[in-house]
Amino acid sequence: MRLELAPRAEVSRIARVLAPVAAFLVAFLIAGGVIWLMGRSPLAAFRVYVSGPLSDPWALQELVVKATPLALIAIGLTYCFRANLWNIGAEGQYVMGAVLGGWLALRTHASDAGPWVWPAMMLLGIAGGALYGLIPALLRVRFGVSEILTSLMLVYVAQLVLDYLTRGPWRDPKGMNFPQSVTFDPSATLPQLFGAGRLHVGALFALVAILATAFVLGRTLFGYRLRVTGEAPRAARFGGFDAKRTTLAVFAISGGLAGLAGMSEVSGQIGQLQPSISPGYGFTAITVAFLGRLNPLGILAASLAVALTFIGGESAQILLKLPLDLTTAFQGLLLLCVLGADALVSYRLRIVARGGGRPGPPLPEGEVETAVAVRVRGHGLAGEGATPHPVAPPRDSTSPSGRGGNVP
């Protein structure tokens, strides 16, 4: 018995929309099974993870607070992923945005600087994230280095930079030796929405980013260029689209939005710089982006759904003594389910009895050599331009109909 995939003749729109929902349900069922295996009640966990936060007005506010950085980062990643570029270093860009913007907050601390400080901090946050995001993009464009590994490595570097600053030069001298900066002045703090409460202006940034992205991707030439570059790199080149400029642009955009997310979180939530300013938003946002099917409105919904797992995880830790790592594991599982469901939208999965449709008997040795020789030609064509580097992204993996490698 084995599994067999057959491309679907046409992809139903309903299936497209339902796939992430189904993935969420499957992930929930598996997680429930794991909790049951741990000797806990899955129903009690479900109440704490889902029903609890959704029925409590305070928790609903918290939901938006947690969804804000996720949505901002994920919406930025959408640009990269649509162009088939793998920025997996958003966590680092988030940190560097907070570092550059936080610098201004510390510079103006205890001075009578006016209300221009926090808007300037946000701009610096965008700049910090964008510049940091441009490093892997430049390395890819200039030297052909895979952006996957470099962007990830830079996450560790950014975290070490923040660690150094908050333990060293930026440490609050009156902070009893705790590794943290001074508390930001009111002028360096994001205004709250609705007076009291925990909701801050950052949520509006996320909404604006979502609407702007919906417009850019759906209605502009740039959005069209991204899709063509991602799904058909050769066509993009024939169309005269500059892949290098696109690469730089999408990394700057996604880095900038991640930086804005980091700065908003530090200025609106934490109120000071400390060695750790993120529970992994930059990585979780990858799950959010795919759960939202790289669609701005989908990402709005996905960020709220995934924020729920963060809040549920926190209350489950307090109420059920379930470790926070369960949340991380769930987010990884969710991403796997989403990608699997995505594939099932374009392929029909059949279970066939052993023997059916198997490839023929292996050929003699000499002909196997030909198979190896064929790649020399195949590789030369397919590899040209489209994949400047070995660990470059799969050529046409995002296009549902693309059967990678079949295209010379």
């Binding site: 793998w86 280095v145 400047p388 050529r395 490698g405």
Partner: protein, 305 residues
């Protein structure tokens, strides 16, 4: 033991997990599968292996469990990318996130536990040779296993029919399929092998390198192993050299931190990551274009019929 000898010994210890994980990933990539989940599989190997070693009070049980844990994680990945033709980069990332989370769950009860050092080889006479004695003849079993693994994989890939099949599948899966080679089965086995190696590399960290378990103890080594495969141009012999080079960089960085040379410790901690980036850049300049990368690397395969 001279200080130089001590440093060389720690370099071997730091390099071994990188070598094992890189060799496993190398095989998967030669079969055309890019598995970015090395970090997660290593974390699972470290946690499950340590838990089993404490639970059964046996290093062998720990190692076996770690290998199974790594291969089990790899099987999940294989189901997604082979069974469902899901995106490999995304699925690999998901595997890393999943592995880091799960390993935290599994390892949590074992924080604070310690294991005794595992026995080292001691060839009478030879191991007492001055200078190179302990370096060559007094290591733990993992070191020799790692070296044997690299040699065996090199032989397998270049000298065996099955290795030729694996390379053909990785270079051009369409041609391989047309020739009747079992593309998906070959890839499945290669992915499992990569997972088993990552699990073994992980348990080396928790049972030999630190001898305790802590959350996030893999600290990006899985990612460095991935970079090593690129560095090695997909060849086992170069992976061996690369792993020892990176191990040396890590150890020298630690010694610099201990030696109080006046640089911030965070800067030195960043050295392995910065060195990885720099190496990738220098390699790309040197090679011009991607050399040695399997032609079908990262592309999903759905047989036409």
């Amino acid at each position: 033991m001279t200080p130089l000898e001590a440093i060389l010994l720690t370099i071997v210890t730091a390099s071994t997990p990188l070598l094992i994980a890189a060799i496993g990933e190398l095989v998967a990539e030669r079969a055309g599968v890019l598995n970015l989940g090395v970090e997660g599989m290593m974390a699972m190997g470290a946690a499950c292996g340590f838990a089993a070693a404490i639970g059964f009070d046996s290093t062998a049980a720990g190692v076996a469990t770690a290998i199974l844990a790594g291969a089990g994680m790899a099987a999940i990945f294989a189901f997604a990318v082979l069974g469902l033709a899901a995106n490999q980069v995304g699925s690999g990332l998901a595997l890393t996130i999943l592995g880091l989370g799960l390993s935290g769950l599994i390892g949590a009860p074992f924080v604070g536990a310690r294991r005794d050092p595992i026995p080292h080889l001691h060839v009478p006479g030879l191991a007492d040779l001055p200078g190179i004695g302990r370096l060559l003849f007094g290591q733990d079993a993992f070191v020799y296993v790692a070296l044997a693994l690299a040699a065996a994989v090199a032989l397998f890939l270049n000298r065996s029919r099955a290795g030729l099949t694996l390379r053909a599948v990785g270079e051009n899966h369409v041609s391989a399929h047309v020739l009747g080679l079992p593309v998906l089965r070959t890839r499945f086995l290669a992915i499992l092998f990569g997972g088993a190696c990552a699990g073994l590399a992980g348990v080396y960290l928790s049972l030999v390198y630190t001898r305790f378990w802590s959350p996030g103890m893999t600290a990006g080594r899985g990612w460095i192993a991935l970079a090593l495969v690129v560095f090695a141009a997909w060849r086992p012999a170069y992976a061996l050299a690369g792993a020892y080079l990176f191990g040396a960089a890590t150890v020298l960085q630690l010694h610099a931190q201990a030696g109080q040379i006046g640089l911030p410790s965070q800067l030195l901690s960043a050295v392995p990551y910065l060195a990885t980036i720099l190496t990738l850049v220098l390699l790309s300049i040197g090679r011009g274009r991607a050399v040695g990368a399997p032609g079908s690397l990262g592309a999903p395969f759905v047989p036409d019929r």
